[in-house]
Amino acid sequence: MRWRTAFTWLVFLSVEISLFLAFLYAPPDVVLGETQRIFYFHVASAWNGLLAFTVVFVAAVAYLMKRTPEWDRLALASTEIGVVFITMGVVTGSIWARFAWGVWWEWEPRLTSSFVLWLMYVTLLVLRNLVEDPDRRARLSAVFGIVAFVDVPVVFMSIRWWRSVHPVVVEAGGKLNLEPPMVLALVASVISFTLLYLLLLMERLTISKLEADLADIKRTWKERTSGVE
């Protein structure tokens, strides 16, 4: 557990550094002023949402191939955390849009595909609670996790494939459309949020392990009490 405590401190430190860079080091935007700083958390949240759903996809494929509960637990943990990050991405994006575009929401390709993505993974979480049998639940969730993943590249590419009012940060060829201090603040935010995602994933996997232990003990208890009857 010592390395986990050390990792928690590393996450805390990286978040502090990214906050410093986003609020004090990076200059305000020429057009949007101070409000542009939402961007550092918005991009980092959305990036981690997409990363989390990619992990769900990998875990779902691995579960269908190997049928071991560990992969199902990883898929569940990553789905839950992905929903938290995508929710944060959509909410911060909406707040930014209110200032930049004058509206809270616009049904344009990036926002619409992100909303569909959020809706699909919330549905996946609901689905998991509806199916009682653990094997059937894991199998259905894995299939749904693979199908839902189709929207991940659509969200990423939507601003390139269709006419969109959403800003393009990464231009063709991987060039970032930002000042160097802003790039540094953005990279720091993305790294710190990715570390935070890993920490949350470890915590969520610990809970899944505890839930499995509890189910085992309950089964033992049931077997003993059923022996009385």
């Binding site: 002023g33 409000t35 958390f41 944060m88 915590e203 610990t206 003990i217 022996g227």
Partner: protein
Amino acid sequence: MTLYLFLGYTAVWTALFLYLLHLSGRARHLELQISWLRERVKTEPRP
């Protein structure tokens, strides 16, 4: 205009804080349930 920055910042960290609170609460609840059940399985006489 910094109101929007404040709103965005608050939204992100409130969501993360609440999620961490939920995770730690759930872990504690499970640990308590497990230790209580283990104790019962150990101490209660077999039928």
